[in-house]
Symmetry: C2
Subunit: 104 residues, 2 copies
DNA sequence: ACGACTCATAAGTCTGTGCTTATGTGTATG
DNA sequence: CATACACATAAGCACAGACTTATGAGTCGT
């Protein structure tokens, strides 16, 4: 997937909320609906969009569909974003310090 | 600015193209229009949106307005995205190696 | 002072998309 | 086998937003 689609997909607040809810745990579509003032088809459509963009993956189990974040799908976003950090030097210094501390 | 607005702003391909064109160099609104099949007001509106989100900054000079990327404006996006990389361990190892080489 | 210019704002149109209700497809259970 | 359940798909509506043309607000050169 290219960053064009990913940005379009992530522009929707409901879809970002879904991802947030899925970060760490695997959930079914119905579980996901809890806390959302949204119809079942709407959720299903959002899930289809997220899946289409490669941001979540599905594990079928009978009539249940379990969804989880697919972190690899965010790679194009990382790539795109890398173009717009000119802090790199100072950031690298911070990282160097951090890793030095971790080594102790 | 929060990531909600930033994602909405970046969902538009024209605005991402503007940022790409501005990465590295400072340009006026008219210079920016070159290569875009877009009216002057449309460009002006896109610029206003990008500026409102803190992704570009303006330097006024007479009747000219010079625009440049404001890399700091992308910070919320970095923060949001950090939540969705579970590669961290291996990445950190790679960085550790890289920085070790840089130190030599 | 006037005309040419750079950019911003106003107002209106049109397409994209997120929502709804209704229905379809497949799976478990009594 | 019939019913309930989990999810997907279809169709239609309504609103957001990106575009246009027209015009306004400042700035420069002659």
């Amino acid at each position: 997937m290219n960053e064009a689609e990913i940005f379009k997909v992530l522009a929707d607040p409901t879809r970002r909320a879904i991802l947030e809810r899925l970060s760490g745990e695997e959930l079914t579509a119905t579980d996901l609906r809890e806390g959302f003032a949204i119809s079942q088809p709407a959720m299903s459509q959002h899930i289809a969009v997220l899946k289409g963009a490669g941001l979540i993956s599905e594990r079928r189990e009978g009539r249940f569909a379990h969804y989880r974040v697919d972190a690899a799908g965010f790679a194009p976003l990382h790539g795109w974003l890398a173009r717009y950090r000119d802090f790199w030097p100072s950031r690298i210094d911070n990282l160097r310090d951090m890793l030095r501390e971790m080594d102790q």
